[in-house]
């Protein structure tokens, strides 16, 4: 039988980690026990629960992980609701990879990198951060700024503390929205914190998070002297096919599923304001 991009394969959930009250990270392999398919940092996969439907998720794990894929998923809709009720050993359907990746080889190599994430926006960035860490010598300084509503909403804080904070030539800044007992770090929103830290505008920046965070953080970066052509982000719109045919996720003449989800800020400026 012919291959068709819309027909998924089977994935098995081999581990479920509860990160926060509404975020779980699912480890997925194929029925052969191997990684379902290869991908690049920033690319997405379509996960489906038969009878409920399909939804697009960014692949959280780095391509350098040769054993499995991970997806950090926030419980906020029909498919994610069912995913969150699943147990280890459950099979789901998976297809991909989809979309344009972060230009880790073409543009990021040799550069100082600034990663800014808010809430579940860390999910797509974790893939690229861990890719860059894997090939650490190919990249310059790394600065990571990550904010969440509370300390309990920081996704996979263990990896951040035990690995990222110990990485060479890497600075990690965490912030939460409101003061909380047991939290000694920064309190405040991401955009203000980024300006406070005083990041170097010659860095290449990658932003991911809620639209309001992106809007104000970008504004702050521009004030600091960042160029839009060196600021990247990812978009998220409703998708059904993932291959630019169902007509759903376009912004102007670009489809987020195949021309995105990674866009440069100067590319977004060219598109109509409808995302």
């Amino acid at each position: 039988m012919n291959f068709d991009a819309l027909i998924p394969k089977i994935g098995v959930i081999t581990d479920i980690r509860k990160d926060t009250h509404d975020v779980k990270t699912f480890r997925v392999v194929g029925t052969d026990g191997k990684k379902p398919f290869e991908h690049l940092p920033g690319q997405c996969a379509m996960l489906s629960v038969p009878g409920v439907g399909e939804a697009m998720f960014s692949i959280t794990s780095s391509p350098t992980n040769r054993e499995y894929m991970e997806f950090s998923i926030k419980k906020c809709g029909c498919v994610t609701d069912v995913l969150h009720s699943m147990e280890v050993g459950q099979q789901i359907a998976i297809r991909g990879p989809y979309g344009r990746n972060f230009p880790v080889e073409e543009e990021f190599k040799g550069k100082d990198l600034l990663f800014i994430a808010g809430g579940i926006g860390l999910a797509p960035l974790r893939s690229v951060i861990n890719y860059v860490r894997h090939y650490r010598a190919n990249y310059g300084k790394i600065v990571i700024v990550y904010g969440a509503r509370s300390k309990d909403d920081l996704v996979d804080i263990d990896e951040i503390k035990n690995e990222w904070m110990k990485e060479v030539n890497t600075e990690v800044y965490l912030t939460i929205d409101r003061a909380q007992e047991g939290w000694e770090g920064n309190v405040g929103f991401v955009p203000a914190y980024v300006k406070e830290i005083g990041v170097d505008p010659s860095m290449t920046a990658v932003l991911c998070g809620p639209p309001v965070m992106i809007k104000f953080t970008l504004q702050g970066l521009l004030e600091l002297g960042f160029e839009k052509s060196r600021v990247y982000t990812t978009l998220e719109l409703r998708m059904k096919c993932g291959v630019g045919k169902c007509g759903r996720c376009n912004v102007g003449d670009k489809f987020v599923c195949k021309d995105g989800p990674v866009f440069r800020m100067d590319e977004l400026d060219e598109l109509p304001d409808e995302y």
Binding site: N2, S48, G77, C78, K245, N250, E274
Partner: protein, 342 residues
């Protein structure tokens, strides 16, 4: 060129139906639509516009794609497609609808190829039919389409007592060969005479002077931000009728349906005019009908051409002009934002 007497057409249909399916305009309950031919069906080649376009010959309104079998924690994907599609002849396709096939091909046959579409498309021989009496709602010429000589594997013309027949490629010649005993060789005079007569009518059509020159990629943002979209879309009910009769609309939904023997995943036509088209768990990128209305026409006139070498995703069939309950349509959009040639 060949010809066959109109009174012998039934024999021609029967001969085609012997070796393949035949999809042809058939009158049923006072509406003419493409449907599978059978003995006793009332064929209506004279009808200028079928209510729906023939796109469902290879892009059916609903289509089962696969099946899931679930048991405990395990899931199995069952491929329910059949290996070979039966050959089909789609007969009597007008120039606008033939052009629309190309518009759809560029979406579904682009990488990664949609094999559901492709298997049907490959099995189809298109027999087009020239228009001799275009109506006032027709505006295919605005898109550079010649309704007097439509594309297709075979082109036909109805004139006087005859149907004239010309194969355009190998696929068309193969069909012609099968029907050789029914066709007689003839000259092209009658067809040429009809064509020049039709061209005179085309010049006088009210919508022939639509000016599309402003609809290009470099004006994308200017057109998108035009304040007149509010007025143009004000009366839109969001019923989606325009998208369902449209020969080039190709948006689809993918959904699951639980049955006793498993979950069927199917796809079906969808419409960008519907409020839940872009709705997702954390919001909606198009919350107003104005945005949805603008999306439909920007896609046809600007976004699609930008991605497809300037080919518009409208073929001027005029079905939406006839069907919109609020009398809104692409012609008003083109006239308002693009203007008319003097």
């Amino acid at each position: 060129m060949y010809r066959i007497k109109k009174t012998d057409l039934n024999a021609l249909y029967a001969a085609i139906a012997k070796t393949s399916g035949l999809f042809i305009p058939i009158r049923r309950a006072d509406e003419v639509n493409f449907a599978v031919w059978g003995e006793g069906k009332e064929v209506s080649l004279e009808t200028l516009k079928t209510v729906k376009s023939p796109k469902n010959a290879f892009f059916p309104q609903t289509e089962n794609m696969m099946k899931f079998k679930t048991e405990g924690k395990s899931v199995e994907v069952v491929d329910i497609r059949t290996e070979d599609k039966r050959p089909f002849v789609v007969f009597g396709v007008k120039a606008c609808d033939v052009k629309a096939f190309e518009v759809l091909d560029r979406v579904f046959l682009a990488e990664p190829v949609d094999t559901f579409y492709q298997s049907r498309r490959n099995a189809i021989t298109v027999v087009s039919l020239a228009c001799s009496r275009p109506e006032e709602s027709c505006f295919c010429t605005a898109f550079g389409i010649d309704p007097t000589a439509p594309e297709g594997d075979v082109t036909t013309w109805l004139d006087g007592e005859y149907l004239y027949w010309r194969a355009n490629n190998q696929k068309g010649e193969a069909l012609t060969e099968k029907l050789a005993s029914l066709l007689e060789k003839c000259g092209e005079e009658a067809v040429e005479a009809q064509r020049s007569q039709t061209k005179e009518i085309l010049k006088r059509l009210p919508l022939a002077a639509l000016d599309l020159s402003r609809f290009k990629e470099e004006n994308l943002n200017e057109l998108f931000n035009d304040p007149r979209w509010a007025e143009l879309s004000e009366a839109c009910l969001g019923c989606g009728a325009c998208t369902f009769v449209c020969p080039t609309c190709q948006c689809f939904d993918i959904r699951d349906f639980k049955t006793n023997s498993g979950v069927i995943r199917y796809r079906c036509w969808d419409s960008c005019m519907y409020s839940d088209f872009t709705l997702m768990a954390h919001g909606n990128s198009r919350t107003t009908q104005m945005q949805r209305y603008r999306q439909r026409f920007m896609h046809k006139l600007v976004y699609y051409p930008a991605q497809n070498g300037g080919l518009y995703s409208c073929v001027g069939c005029g079905r939406c002009v006839n069907k919109c309950p609020q009398n809104l349509n692409i012609v008003k959009v083109i006239k308002t934002l693009g203007g008319e040639k003097s």
